[in-house]
């Protein structure tokens, strides 16, 4: 809802007296419709067909009293948080290792890291959990459900963090890399000492949003009999036949924790922008998979158009490459696919000309003039 004023500014004129009246009428009638819907839901809860009154205190009391909290919800919550915390630490380590691995100059390391990351992003977390649960049980690992939850979440969320690291590095202004190479650092040194530390600050808000995903996904553990908050609330509910009520309590607890994390993720970008030359990723894209493009580049370009920090002068860095497909090696090739760079209008690629210059498309016998070596790929 933070963007609401901006959106209405895009879409609507300031309403006049007539439209204000219409808006008021529609507003109240919609509010009444929602109120009626709410009453209908409550009536259904109060008097379900051949069932008992779900609003009665007899059902809510065992779901809310001290014993329920001390014996079920709090131990369950502790199990959930324990798995979350370890999974978060693990995913950050995994993500940094593989994210940097995907950016290293060595082709072998780069491709192995790439294959592992893409595989882990494509396989559903529940599949990982079931597999590791059985696998650890065969190996005789103590607490196999716990480790299955942790390892699965590390693999999936770690690969998402790896992509965030990669896109964070891709979003840095190219001058950062050029400057460090000019100072005599090697590619790897520039990556490790200049680019990745800045990328980490740029990706932090998006990574905090990913924490919400980790916390939500621990609930999958209840399917493999991990005694987390959801599993405990189901157990309590089956004791007193008030599963609806216990699930509602568990849902509220999950919501509160996730909501707090989401607010933290919204607050962070303001703090982090001071520490990096890259654009901090405010927009967090939903869980992603193979070859995801993201529209953060377009959002960022749209935003840059109106924000001129130096009083009208266009910003002096390229808008090439944002999003998790960014790769610092290919910025020359991809930048024009990603958006028009208004600071370098002369370097816009002419795809039609390139197509003609490309040998496969050339007619036999005709000698068409070649436009350099495939456009502006190498002559910058």
């Amino acid at each position: 809802m933070a963007n609401a004023p901006g959106e209405s500014a895009v879409l609507f004129d300031q309403p006049g007296p007539k439209s204000r009246r219409i808006i008021r009428i529609v507003n109240w009638s919609a509010a009444i419709v929602f109120a009626i819907a709410l009453v209908l839901v409550l009536l259904r809860l109060y008097n379900p067909p051949d069932g008992e009154n779900q609003l009665s205190w007899e059902l809510w009391k065992p779901a809310l009293d001290g014993e329920a909290w001390s014996d079920f919800y709090l131990p369950g919550l502790w199990m959930t948080l324990r798995a979350t915390i370890l999974a978060v630490i693990g995913s950050v380590v995994f993500g940094l290792a593989f994210g940097i691995g995907r950016l290293l100059p060595n082709v072998v390391i780069r491709s192995i890291a790439g294959v592992i990351v893409e595989f882990c992003r494509a396989v559903p977390v529940l599949m990982f959990m079931i597999f590791f649960w059985r696998f650890f049980a065969f190996l005789g690992v103590e607490g196999e459900a716990y480790w299955a939850v942790v390892v699965s979440l590390v693999l999936y969320n770690g690969s998402v963090v790896a992509e965030l690291v990669r896109s964070g590095v891709g979003n840095l202004p190219n001058g950062q890399r050029e400057a460090s190479l000019a100072l005599g650092l090697t590619h790897t040194q520039s990556l490790m000492e200049i680019e990745v530390p800045q990328a980490v600050f740029a990706m932090l808000p998006a990574a905090v949003t990913q924490l919400v995903v980790v916390l939500k996904d621990t609930a999958l553990g209840s399917i493999i009999m991990y005694t987390d908050l959801l599993q405990e609330s189901r157990r309590l509910g089956s004791m007193y036949f008030n599963i609806l009520q216990t699930l509602a309590v568990a849902a509220v607890v999950y919501f509160v924790f996730c909501w707090l994390l989401s607010r933290l993720a919204e607050w962070l970008p303001k703090r982090m922008q001071q520490r990096t030359a890259a654009a901090v990723e405010h927009e967090t894209v939903a869980p992603i998979a193979i070859m995801d493009p993201s529209n953060v580049n377009q959002i960022a370009v749209a935003r840059e158009m109106k924000q001129r920090p130096y009083g009208g002068a266009p910003r002096r860095y390229h808008v090439h490459h944002r999003g998790s497909n960014a790769s610092i090696r290919e910025w020359r090739r991809t930048r024009y696919m990603q958006g028009y760079d208004e600071t370098h209008p002369e370097s816009q690629r002419d795809f039609q000309k390139e197509k003609e210059a490309w040998p496969f498309f050339k007619d036999n016998g005709k000698d068409k003039p070649r436009n350099g070596d495939s456009g502006s790929t190498h002559n910058q």
């Binding site: 500014a9 529940l126 609930a219 939903a286």
Partner: protein, 225 residues
């Protein structure tokens, strides 16, 4: 190797994937409809619609899908007696579709909204300066660009939906892939790694084309600004 081949004749693995694909397609349909309604409510100047859509999105974004699925079966079906069919399998399938659709609609709404955010303010100002009224500006200038901008996040949402369809196991859909994998591992413990790889690569194969299509479409439809 014999055991590996035997797996394919003993279990109908493609049928399990088909159940997941069906779950995905139905949920994609319903969540798109609901998501479009939500985003229209959310960008409207009418406060009550705006607030309700905001609460809906915030609620489902911060709620584990598993708890929604469990609620569909143990709460909505067992306690509130909401059911779609007398056949257990059909009933659970549609309960799972309902849960997935309600959950995914929030993310569809967010994807479409981020598409609207990509349209620069100047576009609306220019449209107004040309004398277009609200409806003309919305349908001819802003929404076409917004839809193009939301291709990529929508693709991501549907990829996530396909992966989330395995959570239907929590809603007692016993024929989908994660349940089948669990069952196969139980009876063929010695082949646990090959079984996992069959299903894992099944998903990789399903997801790569969607990802490539999304990348292609979002580059093809990108508005060059």
């Amino acid at each position: 190797m014999d055991g590996f081949v035997q797996l394919f004749s003993d279990y109908n693995i493609p049928a399990a994937f088909l159940v997941n694909i069906e779950l995905t397609l139905w949920s994609a349909l319903f969540s798109t409809v609901l998501g479009v309604i939500l985003v229209m409510m959310r960008i409207s100047p009418i406060t009550s619609l705006h607030k309700v859509a905001g609460i809906y999105v915030e609620f489902f974004k911060n709620m584990p899908l598993t708890i929604i699925m469990v609620f569909m079966v143990l709460g909505a079906y067992a306690q509130l007696k909401l059911s779609f069919s007398d056949t257990f399998a059909t009933n659970f399938f549609w309960l799972a579709v309902t849960g997935l659709s309600l959950y995914t609609a929030a993310f569809v709404c967010e994807s479409l909204r981020s598409g609207i955010n990509t349209v620069p303010l100047g576009q609306a100002e220019a449209a107004r300066a040309l004398g277009l009224n609200f409806w003309q500006a919305a349908t001819q200038i802003i929404l076409p660009q917004a839809v193009r901008g939301s291709v990529a996040p929508l693709g991501n949402t549907f990829i996530a939906l396909l992966k989330n369809s395995t959570v239907a196991a929590a809603a007692s859909v016993a024929t989908e892939t994660s349940s089948l994998m669990s069952e196969m591992i139980e009876y063929h413990a010695d082949l646990i790694v090959p079984i996992f790889l069959i299903f894992a690569f099944g998903y990789v194969i399903l997801i790569i084309p969607i990802g490539m299509l999304t990348t292609y479409l979002s580059n093809r439809l990108a508005v060059r600004r």
